[in-house]
């Protein structure tokens, strides 16, 4: 086993190197801490905890290009990883087109599921610039929302797809 392919816990803590929203960081994570809890502890509050069991998608973050459930990934497993959270996609001053589309389509009600849903949408549109409604529904089926009935969120993804093409 090569040394750099194994990390050892020291005083209950792993030291890891990772890139978050384009910034390379060295951070420590407690043994057993999920990526969700760690990201929130590091100040990225856009990552939400809705269930902590991998069933609601509020904690969606993009790791190495793929949206995953932050609550199921141990933070230590993000070592060497490239992470994008909602904060890395756009800001109120400079929103991403998908974020704008969600606002304009009226897709945001309580907003708790929205960061995860937008990241899932981004991944979909990155690989499928012109998705069908069925493909949108399938791509968003891991992000539960109780407010909207998904109607306007699907409109938002269609709107964003059109603008991004």
């Amino acid at each position: 086993m090569k040394k750099n392919n194994i990390l050892e816990v020291k005083n209950g803590v792993f030291e890891i190197t990772l890139t978050i929203n384009g910034e390379k960081l060295v951070l420590s994570t407690k043994n057993g801490e999920s990526l969700l809890d760690a990201l929130r502890r590091w100040g990225l509050k856009g990552v939400k905890k809705g269930c902590d069991t991998g069933d609601c998608g509020s904690c969606t973050v993009i790791v190495n290009g793929t949206p995953v459930l932050g609550c199921l990934v141990p933070a230590v497993a993000a070592h060497d990883g490239d992470i994008i959270t909602i904060e890395g996609l756009g800001t109120v001053q400079k929103p991403h087109p998908i974020q704008k589309a969600f606002v304009e389509a009226g897709a945001v009600q309580c907003g708790f599921c929205i960061p995860g849903m937008i990241l899932s949408s981004k991944h979909l549109l990155d690989r499928m610039p012109n998705p069908s409604e069925a493909e949108i529904r399938k791509a968003l089926d891991g992000n539960l929302c109780r407010c909207t009935g998904y109607v306007k969120q699907i409109e938002a993804v269609k709107m964003a797809a059109k603008r991004l093409r």
């Binding site: 050892e8 459930l69 089926d141 891991g142």
Partner: protein, 271 residues
Amino acid sequence: MTHIKYYAFPQTVNEALALLLNKKYKAMAVAGGTLVAKTLPDTVETYLDLKNLPIKGIKISGGNLIIGAGASFDEIDHSKLCRSWAGGVVSSAAAKCSSQLIRNMATIGGNVARPHSFNIFPVVLLGLDARVKVVSKAGAKTVDFAGLYAPGFGLKPGMECIITEIIIPAKTKKWRCEFIKLAKTESSWESYITLFFAAQKEGKTITQARVAVGALSPKPFRASAAEKAFLSGGAHNAATAFAMELDSARAGEYRSVAAANLLKRFIKGLV
């Protein structure tokens, strides 16, 4: 998880195996980590993350469809090779796994490593006569999928061996297949029953028939009486035999009736 002392992410299968076999590490291999990541046994001290192993590819080799154990449900869902195999049943089964986020993370290897009622692939692989390549102390070997869960297998995947490949035999390429997850909703994790039906037709004759049942217990099974009746031709007889088999497997009335109806529908749809 708080008992973890090491987090390892080997780059090769041999590296991973060495770690697994080294008593010092008390390692457990984790693939997608969707079901087990939060429930690692307290005895495990090394989280052996298989994500970097070169076992993700999907290819055709020797006429067989080879799916790397590290391929995610999403990759299998979108794989052109899988979509063109046996009517795309492997892909459509992958797509029926609970949610996109789980499909992004969970792998076929992880899905078969530990038996669980609501796993998607076991019933499909059983019905497709799949074989599984595992690497252990004794080297690499290929076993029937059915053998993986048999008491005589003797190697716990993820603890004593690593699953590297799923081999779907060439003969199944043109089979007519259907995978059904009978559940309350499309994206339910739980299901009443999962069913895999397959038939090989030569002219008007059915030369191979498969009726596999999942979700009733962690290990899927083949309904042999139903398969026999299926081969001898009658949709009605096959359904009756299937209902009886399910009943004796304590599937209960609803599952037995609904599944038998679905088999009948599948067989009728073949003509």
